[in-house]
């Protein structure tokens, strides 16, 4: 026999009666949850459970859901007015939301109870049940076709397609040395220059290689690089005394 959780008899200080009445009163705010001893409810349930030989999993599940909701509701109620905020919701809102969910669940349970009753009433209705009949096959109507048109369409398909050009895939990378030489020559004349201005006229690929050359020079300690902000112009300055020691640090860091 199933054990209806809602009919669980409670004998607590604040309340005496069946569990579902307690729930109803709490939801209607006619009973202050703060006064209710939830542990007492759990004990009563466990006692009832112990009286049975079989473990009623449905009842346990239902009870867990209800008591968890009650506990959370009570926790929110007790924390009202304190600073500690739970999950960013203000306690009153959270309590309201929980109460709403509890009420919603209760309604669903009532609906399920109605369905059970209905099923019981309808248990003496026998009828034929079969698989769904085959859906009628929809006839696909084709527009009238001209064979000559079809031949024309096919002829287009049989023609040799033009050779695909791969020219755009070939990237030509200028040697890095070219830019190394160029920057060194530049630094021989000036102590500093602006990288962006220097490569402005170049193609994207050339700019990339020029940047690699810049990194090479920096690695070798020949120059110092600075940039005010991301995407700001990169300033290049000649290093007075190339330091091999710094090179090591840079490599380690960039690895």
């Amino acid at each position: 026999m199933a054990m209806p959780v809602r009919e669980l008899e409670l004998d607590l200080e604040a309340f005496e009666g069946p569990f579902d009445l307690l729930l109803a009163l709490v939801l209607r705010e006619e009973l202050d949850l703060g006064e209710v001893d939830v542990a007492g409810i759990v004990l009563a349930f466990l006692e009832r459970l112990a009286e049975r030989e079989e473990l009623d999993l449905d009842a346990c599940g239902e009870f867990l859901v209800l008591v968890a909701a009650l506990l959370e509701l009570k926790a929110r109620a007790l924390l009202t007015g304190e600073e500690g905020d739970l999950e960013d919701l203000d306690p009153a809102e959270a309590a309201e939301e929980l109460a709403r969910r509890l009420a919603e669940y209760r309604r669903i349970k009532e609906a399920a109870a109605w369905l059970v009753e209905r099923l019981d009433e309808e248990s003496d209705r026998y009828y034929r049940v079969g698989p769904a009949p085959l859906a009628p096959v929809v006839e696909r109507r084709l527009a009238p076709q001209d064979p000559a048109e079809l031949a024309k369409a096919l002829r287009v398909l049989t023609a040799e397609p033009p050779a695909v050009s791969l020219a755009h895939l070939e990237l030509r990378f200028p040697p890095v040395e070219q830019f190394l030489g160029r920057f060194r020559a530049l630094l021989a004349r000036r102590t500093r220059f602006d990288f962006d201005t220097e490569v402005e006229q170049l193609t994207r690929v050339e700019q990339a290689v020029a940047f690699l050359a810049l990194l090479e020079l920096r690695k070798a300690g020949e120059i110092e690089l600075s940039q005010a902000a991301p995407f700001a112009p990169i300033r290049v300055q000649r290093n007075a005394e190339p330091q091999t020691e710094r090179t090591g640090t840079w490599t380690a860091r960039s690895a």
Partner: protein, 197 residues
């Protein structure tokens, strides 16, 4: 019934009624007025008229076969008086052993469907994957498209309506009317009386 057979055969409405009877006895699920009208090549209004005629003949107490309006259509079933005999010979696998969890999930889908598993789980407070799979297998619920997020949504099937003897989902009691125990006061007073003074 006491009219001469020749006259009955001559009445076109009677002929239509007999065709409908034939269609319904072959069908394994309810047929809508529209489906019947199409099969008979008749006006839906005339089909309804003929069905009303049939309904008088196939009713409890007059026939072992009952014409009932269920799941948005018309179907024959056994009379309730024959239920005991039927139960000795036939199984009702669809509704046998539906758990409390299954009934609650059915209620959620029937009232709030189409809805997804996460939505049902949020209402029931527990995971519902296996329950939903079981209901799909029984044919009581079926997939009905997807949410924006991609979760499959479910709705109840015509079989659900048939099993529960519902003409349509609209005959379910309003959800707002459920879950509200109006006699709380009365029950409190009753309890107060029982309580030793």
């Amino acid at each position: 019934m006491d009219r001469p057979l020749r006259l009955v055969a001559a009445n076109p409405l009677d002929r239509l009624a007999r065709t409908l009877e034939a269609l319904l006895v072959v069908a394994s699920q309810p047929l809508s007025t529209e489906e019947l009208a199409e099969a008979c090549a008749e006006d839906p209004e005339r089909v309804d008229l003929a069905l009303a005629h049939l309904g008088e003949r196939f009713q409890e107490g007059r026939s072992g076969i009952i014409l009932e309006r269920v799941a948005g259509g018309w179907a024959f079933r056994a009379s309730r008086g024959a239920a005991d005999a039927c139960s000795r010979l036939f199984e009702r696998p669809v509704e046998r052993g539906l758990s409390q969890a299954a009934m609650e999930t059915l209620a959620v889908v029937a009232y709030l469907g189409p809805c997804s598993r996460p939505e049902i789980a949020r209402l029931r407070g527990v995971a519902v994957d296996s329950v939903v799979a079981g209901l799909v297998e029984r044919g009581l619920i079926a997939e009905a498209g997807r949410e924006d997020g991609g979760a499959v949504r479910y709705r109840t099937t015509p079989l659900f309506e048939r099993v529960f003897g519902l003409e349509s989902l609209s005959v379910l009691p309003r959800l707002d009317d459920l879950g509200e125990t109006d006699d709380i006061r009365a029950r409190l007073e009753e309890l107060a009386e029982k309580r030793p003074a």
